[in-house]
Amino acid sequence: MNQIDSLAVKPPPELAPAAPQTPGRLLLKRFLRNRIGSGALLLLSILIVVALCAPLIAPQDPYDLAQVSILEAERPPYSMSEDGQMRYLLGTDGAGRDMFSAILYGLRISLGIGVLSALAALVVGTSVGLVAAHMGGRVDAFLMRVVDVQLSIPTILVALVLLAVLGQGLDKTLLALVLVQWAVFARNVRGAALVERGKDYIEAAIGQGLPPRRIMFRHVLPNCMAPLIVTATNQMAGAISLEATISFLGIGLPQTEPSLGLLISNGFDYILSNQYWISMFPGLALVLLVISISVVGDQLRVVLNPKLDG
């Protein structure tokens, strides 16, 4: 429509531009270059898939009373069931539940709680951090003091007190975990947001007439993804560990929805009687889960850090 040939100097003939490499794709490529990180990612993926498919993979639903028999209790790993129908890969516990199945379901709950609480804490903490960075001044100072107070109290203490007051249950455990985690997100996001706000493209965005809220959520926040993702993975690992701890102490989840921590706790009574498998295998699963998340998170931190310079 516009007839103006606006070039004084004709540009050299361009090759068709290649499909743009999104920042996500580039990130994955860099991540996979490291073998340990890739290994951890693989392990984590397996654990996630297994946890999600627990009802499909598990040989037995350990919480269906019809399938469980007390006569099968405390069988060692790789033993056969009484009627020859099932091999207990990792043995059975004190009530006759198949450990392997129990661990699969436990993984599911542990992972679920870790992810959910971390995500909820992310939403809360990020909002607080963005508000603090955006408003600055006294609001910022006040919010950061609240964060400081929250962070100076040991997380286990907070969780214990909270659950002692509120009582047991899945929802209350989730609440306690979110309460304990949001502060880290708030602080990290606020820091990153402040850095981004000083940059030229934000000034240019103001120069385009974009309203402040839009700038905060659609320009600053996407550029804070790096510390956000790293914090999220670290917090997930922490949440899983914390939940395992409080469940182990008996205040977290009820027996009907045992996480790995609760399984470890249940098996604790049997350790001295040489029936190590009831505690050890859930413990191993927990360790594998936390380690894989931590290593992936660490690798992400490395990969996201020397930022792809614009």
Partner: protein, 320 residues
Amino acid sequence: MALLEVSDLVTEFHTEAGVARALDQVSFTLERGKVLGIVGESGSGKSVTAFSLINLLDHPGRVASGSIMFQGEDLRQASARRWSQLRGDRIAMVFQDPMMSLNPVTRVGDQLAETVQIHKKVGRAEREQLVIKALTRVGIPAPRERMRAYPHQLSGGMRQRIAIANALINNPDLIIADEPTTALDVTIQAQILYEMKELARDSGTALIWITHDISVVKDLADDLCVMYAGRVIERGPVDQVIAHPQHPYTRGLIDSLPHAENHGKRLYSIPGGTPPLLALPDGCTFRPRCTRATDICTQLPPVVSVEGREHRCFHPLVQS
């Protein structure tokens, strides 16, 4: 009525070390569709002028006094909401560093579309058309593919073109360009200068081009404003100012440009350096470096306006 009338603008930075007057009684006018070049050394106040006009001064800077009238509207009284309406739509700005002024995680087409979306209510298809039209106007080949690129995939010249497209996509009345080609190499600079001139002429958009390089505005600008230490020390039609400068500083600037005829000879530079804003000399701030200075120059030279040209000097260069 002129498009933009700036009168006696004073911008100050209140620092712990004192008050720095970055702009002191700066005045100029700009007519619709014309190009004004603002030239000066680093620290002369040219960028502060740009930021003062569009109200993007960082704390502790603030416009202390003076008036900025844009199409009859007093911009100093404009609310934050009004500024949101004006910026990007009626007044747009192009920044110096194209590497930093684009959002690194958003596709360039989306950034351009956002500028439209904020100010106009148009559907997505029409928005896309506007984006493609803007990209074509600034000379970006294959705009449909290019608009899906991220900033880091484009060269510096392309990025600055995107920034310029972003500025003119809503057909503003005024574009303020703060040293837009300083960060680019000379050949790209030549292309972009040519294109900007065409664009300004064809669209009737007024342009303020800020630079430290006089040779850049020579072909582009209609009028020239020379700044020194926060004051406008000379102003007038560009050809006349360059051919017959009235202020000794302007003369010095022009003489410092290397010429092919002077090949092998020592380059001329104005002796001394710009005074720090917190310790400006009394009266004419150029006095310590001026060969023509006398006692009277310890007083502030008033603006002398003759036949469409202005200068602030007690001993202007007189043309033969």
